[in-house]
């Protein structure tokens, strides 16, 4: 907790995202983007934590994140994703989907492309709640229950699935390159195969009982069938989309809305969640034998590299780890990552050893030494 750095930024932060680092270099995360909400003028901003030239990992205090550049944003920023190294896509409460370009030479942001009122009602705005991209494709979902597919090199809209959901779709993620997954406010996960025409999902999974709305979703980086969702009641669910229509495990995580859930991109034994109750949790599957998990999978797998380039290897121990995620047996450890905090933590992102999160208390927290 000592290495956490807080910065007050005079705007409530709705989203924080690290800029992806190229796989070829062993670069550390250094630049992140934030989006604000509920302001009269909302903005997206790029920040640098200035890892340039610093050699040691031991000095956690390298000063505040520095603002690189910012740009006005119409409406609340409801979602934010990096399309590639220098393009950022945002989802707005006005229903617009916008691409901003970051000019690294002059350190400026400019508007590059915009789909105005992509999500809308006949006579009203419909907020766009979430986006996911895999360059050049962008998929957006909204309160109007539509799924829209764009391409960054196309001016028009590639495809619209009208009435994809009768309630609000809160989040979307890719399952495979042609398959997406959405979660909605009646506790359902829907799988969509974008190759198929028609407006019905290929599979529906749902919570039993109280149909608690699902707020966020993330897919396991290596095991594509493992999915984690966070609910309005703060419940963390892990699902196996190949088997059954109900969640594999449910864990009480937070006391209010879970706003985001993220597997660690290169070390999926770790998971992070943040919530309206003002907490940020780090979940870790502790290996029972005390051996690093990559050694547990048997002889055949012992050569699998754990770098960012690691292929989606069939590491059996990992599969069972999340899917049997049994907190009662003490295999799952959780730690609070923020000092006591009363206002909502709206967003988090983790890359390498660096974690960034933004709150309604108008603060950004950066931790450069996440114990991974």
């Amino acid at each position: 907790m000592e290495s956490i750095n807080a910065k007050y930024v005079s705007q409530k932060i709705s989203k924080t995202r690290w800029r992806p680092v190229s796989h070829s270099s062993l670069q550390q995360a250094d630049i992140f983007a934030t989006g604000s909400w509920d302001n009269e003028d909302n903005r997206i901003s790029l920040w640098s934590i200035g890892n340039h030239g610093s050699s040691g990992m031991d000095d956690g205090f390298e000063g505040d994140p520095q603002l690189l550049c910012e740009h006005k944003h119409d409406g609340d920023v409801l979602d934010l994703q990096f399309l590639d190294q220098d393009r950022v896509v945002t989802a707005s409460s006005t229903g617009a989907v916008t691409i901003f370009r970051h000019h690294q030479n002059s350190q400026t942001l400019s508007l590059s492309q915009r789909w105005e009122r992509a999500h809308c009602y006949p006579c009203d705005n419909a907020p766009c709640t979430s986006i996911v991209c895999s360059s050049p494709e962008i998929v957006s979902v909204g309160e109007d229950g539509k799924i829209i597919v764009f391409r960054s090199d196309h001016e028009g809209v590639v495809r619209v699935i009208e009435n994809a959901d009768s309630s609000t779709i809160h989040a979307v993620t890719y399952l495979r390159t042609t398959e997406i997954l959405t979660v909605n406010s009646i506790g359902q996960l829907k799988l969509w195969d974008l190759r198929q025409q028609g407006s019905s999902p290929s599979q529906i999974l749902s919570l039993s009982g109280d149909r608690v709305p699902l707020r966020c979703v993330d897919r396991h980086p290596n095991q594509q069938h493992i999915v984690a969702t966070g609910g309005q009641d703060g419940m963390l669910c892990v699902w196996d989309v190949r088997q059954g229509n109900t969640p594999f495990s449910l864990m009480e995580a937070h006391s209010a809305e879970m706003w985001e859930v993220h597997f660690h991109p290169t070390n999926p034994d770790h998971l992070f969640t943040c919530s309206e109750d003002g907490s940020l949790l780090h979940w870790e599957i502790s290996s029972q034998s005390g051996m690093p998990s990559f050694l547990q999978g048997g002889r055949n797998n012992s050569m699998i590299s754990r770098s960012a380039m690691a292929p989606a290897g069939g590491n059996q121990s990992l599969i069972s780890a999340w899917l049997s995620g049994d907190s009662s047996k003490g295999r799952l450890e959780t730690t609070h990552m923020l000092p006591s905090q009363t206002l909502s933590v709206n967003s988090l992102d983790v890359l390498g050893q660096c974690l960034v999160c933004g709150t309604d208390g108008e603060a950004i927290f950066v931790n450069r030494q996440v114990p991974i």
Partner: protein, 652 residues
Amino acid sequence: MEELDVEPAVTNIPAACDGKHLGFAWGPGDILIYETIFKTSGAGGSDNPFIHEVRKDEDIYSPILRKLFNESHHIFVGLQTIKDDLPSKNKKPQFVSISKNYRSVIRACMEELQQEAVSTKAPDVATQYGNQVSILMAIELIWNLCEVLFIDAAPAGTLLLHLLDWVRLHKADVDEKAREVLQSESPTEHHDYWDVVVSYVLQGRLEEARHMLVKQATLQPAARKMYKLMDTLLSKMPFYNPGGTQTLTEFDVKWRHWHEEVDRCLQDNSFASNQHLEVICKILAGDEDTLLEHKGLLSTWYHFLVTRLLFGFPTVKPTELHYYAQSCLTLFLDSPRVPEPLDSILLAAFEFDLHQVIKDCSIALNNWWFVAHLTDLLDHCKLLQSHNLHFGSNLREFLLLEYASGLFTHHSLWQLAVDYFDHCPEFGRVYLELHIERVPLETERKALKVLRICEKRQMSEQVRSICKIMGMRSLRNNRLGSALSWSIRAKDAAFATLISERFLEDYCARGTFSDLDLLDNLGPAMLLSDRLTFLGKYREFHKLYGEKRFSEAAKLLLSLMTAKIAPRSFWMTLLTDALPLLEQEGVIFSADQTYELMFCLEELTSSLNTPAGGTDKPTQDEDIEVTKVELLRLALARNLARAIIREGTVKS
């Protein structure tokens, strides 16, 4: 009515001058002003289409001051969680450290404003920032004094040490000047050299003064003895050590000895040959006239006060302070100048008149931030109990409510205000209830945040109202599923009935249900309203029928009517739905079930016929109805015959 403390300030409304008539409306923080048409002699004035918004508090919109509000919110919440049952001895250090936290937040803000003021290119912005810095500086000064006098409540001896720290902190330009002097080529020749030395002495920073003097001494070997004597005087001056074993009386004796020594030096004219050292010696002796000659270096009356206490009355008791303060103020401001607000606030503090401090601050500052937080802290220290207001509940709550209401008028800071209302036991909840309903809800995400605030506090009325707003919005945009979800969340039966009705209308018009993903998964929420139950069950019937589970479907359909779940107006539709089941090859409705169906049909037609009995010409619609009924009767009769035969057949 109470008398006015000060004349209210006049705000000029542009474009509304020369005898025009204005109307106004109160808002929670702002006032709306509009021109009214007021005709005295029939001459119509040109009407001005503008509405002016008059804001009391501009600070809330400053991006840098927002950090102050956010950070202090955190400290405030932390303070409220300090347990009441701790013995007060243990609490004092906590309160002092919280007070220091507040001050460090003010200082951080001040520094940032200062940087911005320097770096900005627009001159008016720079002056605006400059003004804010000076206000914050005054706030910090007052806060620090209150911390020393009220929160820390230091006893005699220690009190002076704290006051010295207070003056040193707020008169930091000495260090800057000293740096300048030391960095020059020959410090002793610098024209500010003696100013720095004297300033150090005035602030009781004798070590630093000695360091400076050594430089001069080495250059003047002839006067070495004199410098040596001064150095001894300075090094021997006793300071009270609160942590040590020395009692206050012992310290007093020691100090008197030292003072006599200084006096002796003056009488011996030991420093007569060097006017600078002579001055320093006079200051050490506590000579008021010499002190007043250095007004420029003291710059404020409270610095004068502290220096005078240091060299004259180092064991001053808190209760004696006001006497010295008053006399210093008069001595220092020799011209009959009216003291500025800051002067009278500090004087009130020295007089231990807390309420006067808070009152004067409230009048002088345009923002409640300072008084609200200071009063809250003082209240936790149990210093404000004797005072009662003849309005509201008490002073602390009144100020917190005002501050939080101001926050609530802000488009973004309203979230902070919630915690402030929570800690106002008497009226906080009412204020919150009234404010929270008026937060504009642009997105579901924001609505959820507001809902979470209400649900956490069991404000069911507000939960219903917010869900209703969101539900109505969905309904207007024809998002029935979403609207139904909101009504279920609010447990609003009437609203659920309304939406179910819309679903059924849609079904009648189009022949299919929309939003199946929701309707098929209603679960226990179905029981919220009768109509919703019917909708869910009716959809279940369609599902069974679609799956060709005819007998179960038939049973369900019949029970919908016999258990009076279906509204009477919908019975004809249900009976029509029964037609294909009656016409199936196998017998689905048993004889008993058929009787019941017939009973339902008769009940329906008899009730329909009564009012429509007198009409002469049957319309086309009625024709269709009549045909439907005849068809049904025929089908029922045929099914009854088949059922009787089948039930009468003995299975062999």
